[in-house]
């Protein structure tokens, strides 16, 4: 339910994601390449945070999460700490993957999250596995599974959606349609206007949501998860959004027309949420500023701790390729 408290929590989560990713962006563009603070690149959701934040906030603690790469907002909501995220990006001692992977490539049972991999759409089939196991165990929960417009063209995603529909699995598939897959625009990705149109072909209900309106995303995903938990099967939700930066921090995205950016800038998810909160009388400009100041200070404190973390050295690397025991 979209209570006033939930609305404020959504706003705060949008802000935190923006502040964290702005920091990643800044470091990636300003660090000494010989002695980098961040290993690898940032794959950011800046300017489209509402898809991840709105969807993840609609989950119950016992639900499971199959994130995609622009889901830092969702990870923070699932309980991944800023410190874990920073150490993961910096690849230093205390990194949750022990330096074995970087940036957005992680996912842990303690957060009821599957580990993201770079093969786009791959987690759709694994999300079905979690949902199948839930059904077999009699657990009345659901899985939130996120992927993008690019992934929607891969064979594995088509297999997954058909399979979920046949099995009436409790999975909510959220497609973050941000119009660009690296440099490939939508019209080179698919011959249809709306990815949601495919729902009928798979045999599941589908809908289209304004992806930059965090409250709209929350509402749609909340209802779909509730329906899935009740045993009514999967659902496909297409969130219309726009990737407002390059694919990664190394990509200047010069291929995106200026007017496309200009149009979507007017639909910035933070400004949109602020407008709605002002209309509701839930917050004012001072409140917004206070949230920003508080979260920035929080990030700075965590950064100070993380830059002290030691380097990662090989430790049980070969032993941990396999699990021990039974």
């Amino acid at each position: 339910m979209l209570t006033p408290e939930k609305k404020l929590a959504l706003y705060r989560a949008l802000r935190l994601t923006r502040i964290f990713e702005d920091w990643i962006y800044y470091i990636c563009h300003n660090q000494n390449s010989q002695k980098p603070l961040i290993i690898g690149k940032g794959y950011l959701s800046t300017g489209q945070e509402a898809v991840s934040v709105g969807a993840a906030m609609a989950m119950e603690p016992a639900d499971w999460y199959a994130p995609s790469h622009r889901d830092i907002g969702g990870h923070l909501i699932r309980g991944v700490s800023l410190q874990e995220l920073l150490l993961q990006y910096m690849s230093r001692e205390g990194s949750p993957t022990k330096g074995r992977d970087g940036n957005v490539h992680f996912g842990f049972v303690r957060h009821k999250t599957l580990g993201f991999i770079s093969q786009m759409g791959a987690l759709t089939v694994a999300a079905n596995g979690v949902a199948t196991a839930m059904k077999m165990c009699g657990d009345k929960q659901a899985v939130l599974c996120c992927y993008g417009d690019g992934a929607s063209s891969s064979g594995v995603v088509h297999e997954a959606l058909n399979y979920a529909a046949v099995g009436k699995l409790p999975v909510v598939f959220v497609v973050n349609n941000n119009r660009w897959a690296i440099s490939t625009p939508l019209h080179e990705q698919m011959a249809i206007e709306n990815i949601a149109d495919r729902g009928t072909g798979y045999g599941m209900p589908s809908l289209i949501v304004e992806g930059n309106n965090v409250f709209a995303v929350y509402d749609a995903v909340y209802d779909a998860l509730k329906r899935a938990r009740a045993g009514a099967g999967p659902c496909l939700i297409e969130c219309k959004s726009m990737r407002m930066a390059g694919h990664g921090t190394h990509d200047m995205a010069k291929y995106v027309p200026d007017d496309e950016y200009a149009y979507w800038k007017t639909k910035d998810p933070i400004l949109w949420a602020e407008k709605l909160l002002l209309e509701d009388g839930l917050s004012n400009a001072e409140d917004f500023k206070a949230v920003e100041v508080e979260l920035k200070a929080e990030l700075e404190k965590v950064v100070e701790i993380c830059v002290q973390a030691g380097p990662i050295r090989p430790n049980h690397e070969l032993e941990d390729v396999f699990a021990e025991g039974k």
């Binding site: 993957t97 992977d101 842990f108 694994a126 596995g129 979690v130 196991a133 594995v156 399979y163």
Partner: protein
């Protein structure tokens, strides 16, 4: 109590025992439920365990193995079947990118056993006969077993299902109703990573696995008639590999013949040969000989398939050649 049963029945017995002892074990794949699988291996399981624990899936290998990963992360012990081992190509990414490295990267063990009916010698052509096990030897994080007897089929499958890691279980479809041997009724395990001394001999060592164990034993019999005592080692498990038994046999016979049904070029025999020369070169009295299928698609016609495969005569000739050194 032991009694003679077929290889296929040993597999079914292992599945039933594993499902009885652990409610998290479940079987799924194409046509595995009431139909019993295209080879009848899962026949009767749906009747005993219900259609939720023995479940038919759409024709979607990637979705099948993806389900296995998600279900294992959630705490189940999935035992998916890929109808023909050949069809694993449609789920390559799920095995290589998602399943194999999951424990190393995220710290979560995935107790998955993938059943892969493999191998040919049945005249069923290129899409139903391949032996792709060696591809997966190259992928860290997967255990790879290939049973050659009914006893091992049951014991290795039980060990695989109880193992916390993904195990690719390459069952040999030719052996389903060809091989019959003593199998205990009760539950037992064959340790993954232990080879089996199939025949003792002093003159040369034949390292083999799967379908070719039978052929190696026939060839050893022929060699015996010529006064050559071949030792036959059935590897049973490619990962992990029983280096101890291999090295002790080679140190005794000083001559090595490697035989597999998979193609010779870049097959597992190359790895074995390199390992032996790297680690116990001084024990060798002769160059290592590798025998495997020819580098061509598996032909359908039995005469052509016989041409593609290494023959018993090839093994005998290679054994005689080794003894000339």
């Amino acid at each position: 109590m032991t009694r003679e049963i077929y290889y296929a029945d040993a597999i079914r017995e292992a599945l039933a025992l594993a499902m009885r002892e652990d409610p998290s074990v479940y079987v799924f794949g194409e046509d595995v439920a009431a139909y019993g699988g295209v080879f009848g291996v899962t026949m009767g399981l749906a009747a005993e365990f219900g259609q939720q624990r023995v479940r038919n899936t759409p024709l979607s290998e990637a979705a099948i193995l993806g389900e296995a990963v998600g279900a294992a992360v959630y705490g189940m012990r999935p035992v998916p079947e890929i109808q023909f081992g050949d069809f694993i190509t449609s789920a390559m990414s799920q095995v290589v990118d998602l399943m194999a490295n999951y424990h190393y990267r995220n710290g979560t063990a995935l107790p998955i056993t993938v059943r892969l009916p493999s191998g040919g010698m049945l005249g069923i052509g290129n899409f139903h006969s391949n032996c792709w096990e060696n591809w997966f030897v190259h992928v860290p994080g997967l255990k790879i077993v290939v049973p050659a007897t009914a006893y091992d089929a049951k014991g290795l499958l039980l060990a695989a299902i109880r193992d916390p890691n993904p195990v690719l279980y390459f069952e040999q479809k030719r052996l389903y109703r060809l091989v019959k041997d003593d199998v205990p009724e009760a539950s037992y395990e064959v340790e993954i990573g232990k080879a089996r001394l199939a025949l003792e001999g002093n003159d040369l060592t034949i390292l083999t696995y799967g379908n070719m164990v039978l052929e190696a034993l026939k060839a050893a019999h022929e060699l015996g008639k010529r006064g050559i005592k071949a030792e036959v080692i059935d590897l049973r498990s490619l990962v992990p590999l029983d280096k101890e038994l291999i090295f002790s046999s080679v140190s005794k016979t000083n001559r090595v013949l490697i035989l597999h049904e998979a193609r010779k070029v870049a097959g597992f025999g190359g790895e074995l040969a390199a390992l032996i020369t790297e680690e116990i070169f001084d024990e060798l009295a002769a160059p290592i000989i590798r025998l495997g299928a020819k580098s061509m698609p598996v032909p359908m016609n039995p005469n052509l398939e016989a041409f593609y495969l290494p023959s018993i005569q090839d093994v005998v000739a290679a054994g005689e050649r080794l003894m000339k050194y």
